[in-house]
Symmetry: C2
Subunit: 385 residues, 2 copies
């Protein structure tokens, strides 16, 4: 098992499986893939995720759907195992009946994608997956728990689900979703909470800033709101075994967590609903290490590791360095592939190199802590060791 501690494991890596890419190509409005002519007379495929996509969308190609491209990318960066998830917007734009059929088909596709991937050992493949649920606007609550059970029973290489923030249309704090959380907690599937819509667009202003504001700020804001609403709704109190992995290191949740706790304290009706100080819940979550900087990672681990101080009963004193070390155990490397591709023909992707360097540079982390963030923590989280 010692060798597994050294694996590099990517928990944040996306795919549009061929069946999904075909669907996007057949559509006439966003989300869609369209083919257009370039000024030089060539053709190129562009991905339009949102109706008001900046810069005419982004280039899209084989790295989005071809498994060989995923494996090449992994080899180039020394990634042993990847937990692949459908990229946003998942099935959000479909009516429930279509979403239900497509979720089953895409989960079966993903199971094959993973189960037929190269083996690292008799019990370890190079590819695992996050499945899809037909959790779209209007989805009947009664369909969700069965979908979770079916996913968990039939797809051994699917170890979690990827989840947007809208739920069945009313967000993730919708009381109708209670059976969903119960089923997810029971199966042990990891919930990868990921943004799509962004938050803040009316405040971006008139200047042309490309994708910078929606991606750098709008995405993490969306995740921050979604997990905060889950906390405020008591979902983490009622489902202590629920395992939620937050994209992009939890967005702004760590930095705003003490402010959140203070605002809750000053709103007794809200405070009275919760079992613990808001900061306690950060210790129940997992965070990918997709933050591009060592200071950010060290801080997230401290915000996670300090959580025990804030238990409502027998809170424990936890020092800064101790918090940073223990908190690292809930952080897991990710790349966000195939987004943020290199600008030039460089051998490695800068976005990946930065995230790996950041892990290496967190001063408070021991080599063992760093190995955990690079791979060991993910293997443990997903039950692979």
């Amino acid at each position: 098992m010692a060798a597994l501690q050294k694996l590099l494991v990517d928990v944040h890596t996306h795919v549009y499986l061929p069946r999904y890419a075909s669907l996007l190509r057949a559509r006439l409005n966003a989300p869609r893939i369209l083919t257009r002519s370039t000024p030089s007379g060539q053709t190129e495929d562009r991905l339009l995720i949102l109706d008001d996509e900046p810069s005419g969308g982004r280039p899209v190609g084989a790295q989005y759907w071809d498994r060989e491209e995923k494996l090449k990318f992994m080899d180039k960066h020394g990634i042993s195992v990847s937990f692949v998830s459908t990229a946003n917007p998942w099935l959000d734009f479909l009516p429930f009946s279509d979403a239900q059929v497509l979720a089953q088909e895409l989960n079966a596709d993903l199971e094959t994608y993973c189960s037929t991937s190269p083996s690292l050992s008799p019990t370890l493949k190079r590819l695992y997956g996050f499945g899809l649920l037909p959790l779209v606007p209007g989805a009947p609550a009664s369909a969700l728990a069965p979908a979770v059970s079916q996913l968990a029973s039939n797809h051994p290489h699917i170890r979690g689900i990827i989840l947007g923030t809208r739920g069945a249309g009313a967000g993730l704090d919708d009381p109708a979703l209670e059976p969903l959380w119960g089923a997810l907690a029971e199966t042990g599937l990891v919930v990868f909470l990921h943004p799509h819509y962004g938050v803040g667009a009316p405040a971006w202003g008139a200047r042309e800033n490309g994708h910078v504001l929606p991606l750098a700020l709008g995405f993490p804001f969306e995740t921050t709101i979604a997990i905060t609403r889950l906390i405020l709704a008591g979902v983490l109190d009622r489902h202590p075994n629920l395992r939620i992995l937050l994209a992009h290191s939890g967005g702004a949740l760590p930095q705003l967590s003490s402010r959140l706790a203070s605002c809750i304290t000053h709103d007794p009706e809200v405070a009275g609903r919760l079992k613990h100080d808001a900061r306690w819940y950060l210790g129940r979550l997992w965070f990918d290490a997709v933050a591009y900087g060592a200071a950010e990672l060290g801080f997230v681990s401290e915000a996670v590791g300090r959580a025990e101080r804030y238990a409502s009963v027998s809170g424990k004193a936890v020092g800064e360095q101790e918090a940073r070390r223990s908190g690292s155990q809930r952080m897991v490397f990710g790349t966000d592939h195939p987004f943020f591709p290199p600008l030039g023909e460089s051998e490695k992707w800068q976005s990946v190199v930065e995230n790996l360097e950041a892990i290496g540079e967190v001063e408070a982390w021991s080599e063992e802590d760093k190995d955990g963030v690079r791979g060991g923590n993910a293997m443990r989280l997903f039950g692979l060791q």
Copy 2:
């Protein structure tokens, strides 16, 4: 001067001067102060800041307008000097002509409020102020630089301005505001950038969470977007002497700053406009220490102190501890008084105690660093030593 190093200085403390409170009382829609009967037959004043204010607004009383209450609050918490600013929404809701007259009147009121406050020494008062500019939707750009000059010349106790995020209606990256930044940089007035509208309201959902989501998340998101837009517009490149103080420790800017840098790198048109990596600009800003937690403060100081690494020319290696110490020099204590009042009859305000304890608990900071954050840095920033 050594004694001044030990002063506790509050840079984030608000007032509705009597003239402003009267205006709010005369209004029939938000922002307004209304008097209502309580179930027990008493009357109470409520402050409605926004049209859709949660919880029917908040209680408002003498602590908002009575200088004696401000001084009592300061005495209770050992605060020697306060830099008082009008609370949001300032003059945003007025037509320019009204805003221009009222800004002059309120600045004169504030000068009197400060200049007639108790003295700590022959050259030091207990109260200083941030003034108001008539920067409201539709304000003519030609009026702004003269208003800055007039403010700086005539009001020696007004050491800065408080600024919302909407500018003349198109945000702070509006090219029409260029003369404003020039005038502010020239006079040395500190720009206190403060949220009001919040960002993200459509994503709050249907559950009743009081003020928690708009205050804990929406406010810092708004500040984060505003300062990011200023950076992206090159304002900090063109006005290196501009001194901007960010409310609530910069919101989410520090935690998202490496992601911001990465997104800019992947958008060459945006990157080409900027002189430096996004993280460099954090070293040019000031941050209040209103974050309610030691981990947050330590992280903000690290994000500020590491900025020199990211200079486009001759970036310097800066270690984690070194960054945390040097970054602390741009952090300044604040209380957000009279918001977040105590729930009970406790002697001290919990929100203030938490912020003071947080400063004391940052492990990387020396006693000298902590004294700086408590007061010395503010005295230096505002030219009082």
